[in-house]
Amino acid sequence: MVIAAILAGCGNTGDSAGGVAGPIGVDGSSTVFPITEAVAEEFIAETRGEVRVTVALSGTGGGFRRFCGGETDISNASRPISQTEIDACASAGIGYVELPVAYDGLAVLANLGNDFVECLTVDELRQIWAPGSTVQSWSQVRPEWPDQPLRLYGPGTNSGTFDYFTEEITGEAGASRSDYTASEDDNVLVQGVSGDGNALGYFGFAYYAENRDRLKLVAVDSGSGCVEPTPETIESGQYAPLSRPLMIYVKESALESPAVQSFVQFYLDVAPQLVAEVGYVPLEANGYDEARARLAQALDG
């Protein structure tokens, strides 16, 4: 234990003395992870490995816990920071800048063999997914649909995707019926929906994009007609309410380090290209300009 404490002491001084080349710590959403990983990979190539960047994936909530504990410089988030997290950051004296970096759509999917469901309204989705919902068959959703059991697939409660879907559909983050097949791994959901004729599920658009030939996309009607998620409808916000911005939160004090500064600037510069490469939808061009303006403001302040 004594040795450990001494070693730990050395480590701490090493970290703070690291300064310019010290590792930039990023944690947070596993949805945003591939984007930040791609940016970090390019950044390290660009700086020839002089700056170390590490990325972890504790999830949006786990990431904010570490961020507001002062342990990381940047937090990946697939939903905006919550009030409890804002309070935690405030009481720890941690200021931050929120920068949107991409859009993600949540796709609603059915089995390929399903020949009746083409579109669901937000009301129908709410009826199906609401806590305590008694919908057990397709005919309970719409009387003209067959009286077949409805089997539901969705992400587990730790996922930011779950928080976002429940917030938009049932009106309260985390409020959902719980008698469905849940998995934190979206690939399991893809398997489940593609193998179950009566399945209905939801997960990130990128997972649908890689499995187009195995799943049936269900359009969503939020009052102005059925809209299918595509990169265009997600970016324009037409695919409502299931398209969401993905963000990074940068600690203000970390921006004093030139390494973090240039990393974040680099992030916004390469994002349009890299975001598309890893399967998400880039912001419209002035979205990145706005983010740059926010960053400049934070740097001045």
Partner: protein
């Protein structure tokens, strides 16, 4: 007549029936063995089929990347070797010492029995609980940060109960007559333990160590909790560097939407198996050396 029948009945050898029953059980046991081996074979073939073509020197020596064909496992491989070596270094002496004390020194008191019961219970605690413990004690309280050292110590706690129990079993298997003989020749308790008990128990202790370390190398949950990373483009320089390990890298690749990443995850599993086999081989060689000495 009926009298005779009863007597014959009592001494009926029923040879055919007994042999048949014997054969039936032999087959059942053989089948049971086959189930395990078949499952393992199917798993191996599946992973080999998917991953073998992606296994190359480049894959082993490269850092993670967003392009599946450029991504490699070097950081995770070195991270795993670091963590496993340190875990072995910490847990082996601690585990054996505890086992020796409990078997050879401890009085049969309520305290010993409580410790004993706790160790048995600890062996069944889910690994994620150790992760939370490691985060609170090593990462935060002892301020080790999210380092190789904190990870190894967490895994040490995780596998200690298994190692202690295996060590105790091995020590208990040493016949009491050997200890008594040693005492009769005037040896002290420590001399008896060191010269008689430990050498005889060593093969069993090493087997327990193999099993425990195999568990450690496959753990993901506690290391994610204490903050092992998913994207680490460098290898740890020392025990205080941040790190990643093979299971986390594999998990990260498997959970991606692109099928190419699933294929390199399979290649990663092959590397993990190779690491596991290498460590086991070392332990088996050590065990054989000890066995021969006797």
């Amino acid at each position: 007549m009926s009298n005779v029948k009863a007597t014959v009945g009592r001494f009926e050898p029923r040879r055919t029936t007994r042999y048949t029953i014997g054969q039936v059980f032999r087959t059942i046991f053989l089948l049971a063995t086959c189930v395990g081996i078949a499952a393992l074979l199917v798993l191996l073939l599946d992973v080999l089929n998917e991953g073998a073509t992606h296994l190359s020197w480049d894959f082993i020596r490269s850092y993670p990347s967003r392009f599946a064909d450029r991504a490699g496992i070097w950081a995770a491989l070195i991270g795993s070797i670091w963590v496993l070596s340190l875990t072995a270094l910490f847990s082996f002496p601690l585990g054996i010492a505890t086992a020796i004390w409990l078997e050879e020194y401890a009085p049969n008191s309520w305290l010993t029995r409580t410790i004993q019961m706790n160790i048995a219970n600890l062996a069944a605690v889910p690994s994620i609980v150790y992760g939370i413990l490691g985060l609170a004690v090593f990462v935060r309280w002892l301020e080790m940060g999210r380092s190789v050292l904190a990870g190894s110590l967490t895994l040490t706690l995780l596998i200690l109960p298994v190692m202690i129990i295996a060590g105790q079993e091995a020590i208990r298997a040493v016949p009491t007559s050997i200890r008594l003989g040693s005492y009769a020749l005037g040896a002290t308790r420590w001399q008896t333990v060191r010269r008689q008990v430990l050498p005889m128990a060593m093969p069993g202790i090493l087997t327990g160590t193999i099993l425990a370390l195999s568990r450690a190398v496959g753990e993901t949950a506690p290391l994610i909790i204490i903050g092992a990373l998913a994207f680490v483009p460098f290898v740890p320089d020392g025990p205080l560097d941040s790190f990643t390990v093979l299971p986390i890298q594999i998990f990260n690749w498997i959970s991606r939407p692109q099928p190419e990443f699933h294929a390199i995850a399979a290649a990663g599993i092959l590397v993990l198996l190779a690491v596991l086999l290498t460590f086991n081989l070392i332990a088996v060689l050590l065990r054989n050396r000890y066995s021969k000495k006797l």
